[in-house]
Symmetry: C2
């Protein structure tokens, strides 16, 4: 039991929320997402992101189209489906509730 491991655990589910949010703002492909996540200091590796995108796509929350690239192989550009948008709304509520609950507990002073 170490801090690194708990950090990994804390990330669960939240990544999904962040990815959906990034895609909701417009067509992006995996590297775009990695860049944005990295900029926000939420470090993610390929082996996490790609399977996640596949899961979300299989669940009908995302769709993609192949677009040619000028420097390398074609890219999958993702967008949200209607179902994905609704899912994101619910996740936003969930996240806000969770942050709120955590704040209630962690800001309570020593009684």
């Amino acid at each position: 039991m170490n801090v690194e491991n708990t950090q990994v655990q804390m990330r669960k589910g939240i990544l999904e929320y962040c990815i959906l949010h990034i895609i909701s703002r417009g067509e992006v492909y995996a590297s775009d997402m990695l860049d944005e996540l990295t900029a926000a200091r939420m470090i993610v590796v390929e082996g996490t992101l790609y399977p996640l995108l596949t899961r979300l796509k299989n669940a009908g929350l995302l769709e993609y189209k192949w677009i040619e690239s000028k420097s390398g192989p074609p890219r999958k550009y993702y967008t949200l489906t209607d179902k994905g948008s609704k899912f994101l709304e619910k996740l936003t509520e969930t996240w806000d509730d969770l942050v709120h609950s955590t704040q209630m507990i962690t800001t309570k002073s020593n009684a």
Copy 2:
């Protein structure tokens, strides 16, 4: 893939953080913690809490002493060890960073 499941996933790791925080404020036993978590609307069931406490104790973050109860079997009252306090500090950083990163992503406007 449904919302309920993602809620479960999001909770991972955070529960550990909340529990440590509650214990850091003074001696408590399991039912006290359940009450406080429930009050903050972070619903947790026994089957989750008890194994978690055992894990934290085995990791040397917690210690407990048996105290007699006036209504039922004796209770395990938990306190943080030094190691536990340090662990909690690091978790606090982790959580704050995570919230900050998530905010950076989710409050960014549609470019």
